[in-house]
């Protein structure tokens, strides 16, 4: 079979393929750009956006009331100074990690299947980090003074305390947000040029033209561009590992039983990737159905993501095991009590639910049938999303609520404002994502062109070049 025959050739090793056969440069371009430029917005988009918009309003109300009354409206108390807001912060940051992993790590590993999912996974990262950032910012109590966290010369003569993991977090999260935004924008640049050239409206041409910065696809530009993209991927890879490591330091550097453990950094990073891939699946499965993108986001993609989930899920399960084992093996009475309290204490139902969601349920992914069955995968991904949220809640709250002294024990009960803020960020996340789907190409068009068989330069021409 000739490789330059676009009708019959399939791309990449393994079946099913990463793109359905029969596509050309033109049809790939038209199919993806038409979602933004010409096709009618599907009804599902409007329904989803209406719900997300309502929840975003809940977010605004929750924030406004918080600013008026202070964080006393939450269920936080002594000893549980960290509760929903830190749970949600860790959760959202973790979800973001899959986006960077797909766009950076899989790029370095030359995994062609990343191409059709990296763009919206990166968008997901950005929006998740935006939601994550809200929580610690609001939790400071006086968010209008949050700029005090940054090191800048001020009339008070004050400087931040760089030995604190909280400061490390400020730097890790802001760097992560900035680098993710840059990576996303650089990836978008050639596609913005495509939209500029294909938009029929003056406004569209103007805005996309402005954002495309005059990109014209020059070979000299592509050369610099490829170098920059690879370097960014190389920088984002250690960054993504460092971010959740630093987040885990927020806990591990403290001496609270259940937090003070060396397994936290790798266990947090694996958990982040796990929850992130679950979220990518939760989003990708309905999106590809609503927009009819089964040709681009194929069963191969779903199956590969399911495999990543299975592996990271097993690492997370190993983390739980080691946590329990060390609590016993260390002979430390407080550690031992902590794990016993998780298993049998007042929050035991959440602990057992998390074991079911994160350890037991994903084992169905061993079966190829499940990995290739989109509705089944969707359900598993939702279960893992819930499970990973529960995991963070259990780590944050059950460790704090009963520490060394029984006289300082307490219970945390979330209030309506705790839920309001969390649901609100879900609304904001979905709303931003839907707006992204509406105005920007959700699949990287230029990278999809590169995986077509016709993108390959013939061997004899390549031979000629080697001579010089």
């Amino acid at each position: 079979m000739p490789v330059d025959d676009p009708v019959h050739a399939t791309v990449g090793a393994g079946t099913p393929a990463v793109i359905a056969p029969g596509y050309t440069f033109g049809t790939v371009t038209d199919k993806i750009s038409s979602i933004v430029l010409t096709r009618r917005t599907p009804r599902g988009w409007y329904v989803g956006f209406a719900i997300a918009f309502l929840l975003t309003m809940v977010l605004l109300v929750s924030i406004t009331y918080l600013l008026v009354k202070g964080i006393g409206i939450w269920g936080n108390n002594q000893p549980i100074g960290w509760a929903f807001e830190i749970t949600n912060f860790v959760c959202w940051i973790g979800i973001g990690h899959a986006g960077t992993l797909i766009s950076a790590v899989l790029l370095l590993l030359k995994q062609t299947w990343r191409t059709s999912i990296n763009r919206f996974a990166e968008a997901m990262t950005l929006f998740a980090v935006a939601c994550a950032g809200l929580f610690p910012a609001l939790h400071t109590g006086r968010p209008w003074l949050d700029y005090w966290l940054l090191p800048y010369p001020n009339t008070m003569g004050l400087w931040p305390q760089f030995r604190s993991p909280i400061m490390w977090d400020v730097f890790a999260v802001t760097t992560y947000a900035t680098v993710s935004l840059l990576f996303w924008f650089v990836g978008l640049l050639p596609d913005l040029a495509t939209l500029r050239d294909r938009s029929q409206s003056r406004v569209g041409r103007f805005i996309y033209g402005l954002l495309a910065m005059g990109w014209r696809g020059s070979a000299r530009h592509w050369h610099q561009y490829d170098t920059a993209y690879l370097l960014l991927a190389g920088l984002a890879t250690p960054l993504v590992v460092s971010v959740h490591t630093v987040v885990s330091f927020d806990f591990a550097v403290a001496i609270v039983p259940g937090w003070h453990t060396t397994i936290f950094p790798p266990y947090f990073v694996a958990g982040a990737i796990y929850s992130g891939f679950a979220m990518v699946l939760t989003l990708a499965i309905p999106i590809r159905a609503v927009y009819g993108l089964e040709d681009f986001i194929t069963t191969r993609h779903l199956e590969n993501m399911a495999k990543v989930m299975l592996v990271t899920g097993l690492i997370v399960a190993y983390g739980y095991t080691v946590e329990a084992f060390i609590a016993w093996y260390s002979g430390n009475a407080y550690e031992g009590f902590m794990i016993w309290n998780r298993i049998t204490g007042p929050y035991r139902s959440l602990y057992w639910a998390l074991l079911f969601c994160n350890v037991l349920a994903p084992q169905v992914l061993w079966f190829r049938r499940v990995r290739q069955y989109a509705p089944g995968l969707f359900v598993v991904s939702l279960i893992v999303n819930v499970g990973m949220w529960l995991e963070r809640f259990v780590i944050v709250v059950t460790s704090l609520h009963r520490d060394f002294l029984p006289s300082s024990w307490g219970m945390f009960r979330p209030t309506v404002w705790d839920f309001g803020l969390y649901l609100g960020t879900i609304g904001l996340f979905v709303a931003l994502l839907l707006l992204f789907l509406r105005v920007l190409p959700m699949i990287s068009i230029f990278e999809m062109r590169t995986i077509l068989p016709s993108a390959k330069v013939d061997e004899d021409v390549r031979e000629d070049l080697r001579v010089i």
Partner: protein
Amino acid sequence: MKASQTYGLIAEFDDPTALVSATHRAYQAGYRRMDAYSPFPIEELTAALGAHHSKLPLIVLIGGVCGCIGGYLLQYWVATIAYPLNIGGKGLHSWPAFIPITFECTILVAALAAVFGMLALNGLPMPYHPVFNVSRFALASRNRFFLCIEATDPQFDPGETRRFLHTLQPREVTTVAD
């Protein structure tokens, strides 16, 4: 038409192979001031144009080193000189605690250097460029491949160069107005 009003001659091709071999032949024919345009990166084109290695890795390295040293010095200066705090009796220059932020600053400045360095080396943003005057050039971001020989090339001659481009079997050859 006077040469000063012409930016160059642009030839349109159907596929990457045609563009790479055309560019290669133009290079062998002695043309240097030219550029190829494609809807996606083609590694071979860089070689065919005789382009040099990118300076970008060096820029990124310098950015990373600046971020690393700057991040560390900031913490050192704050913790030992500007605002010394005694935290649990630890030494003021407690360097292991400074590593995470030093690392983040390294990545941040290196990434900024990569993006802004790439844009600067490419001369972007550039809102106007003569090739956009060719109406079919809009397809360069879809499915067509272009080779433009610029009028500033010493070998450029409106008639001669056009005849040369036609020998490369393009779809068409157009004059690019400046």
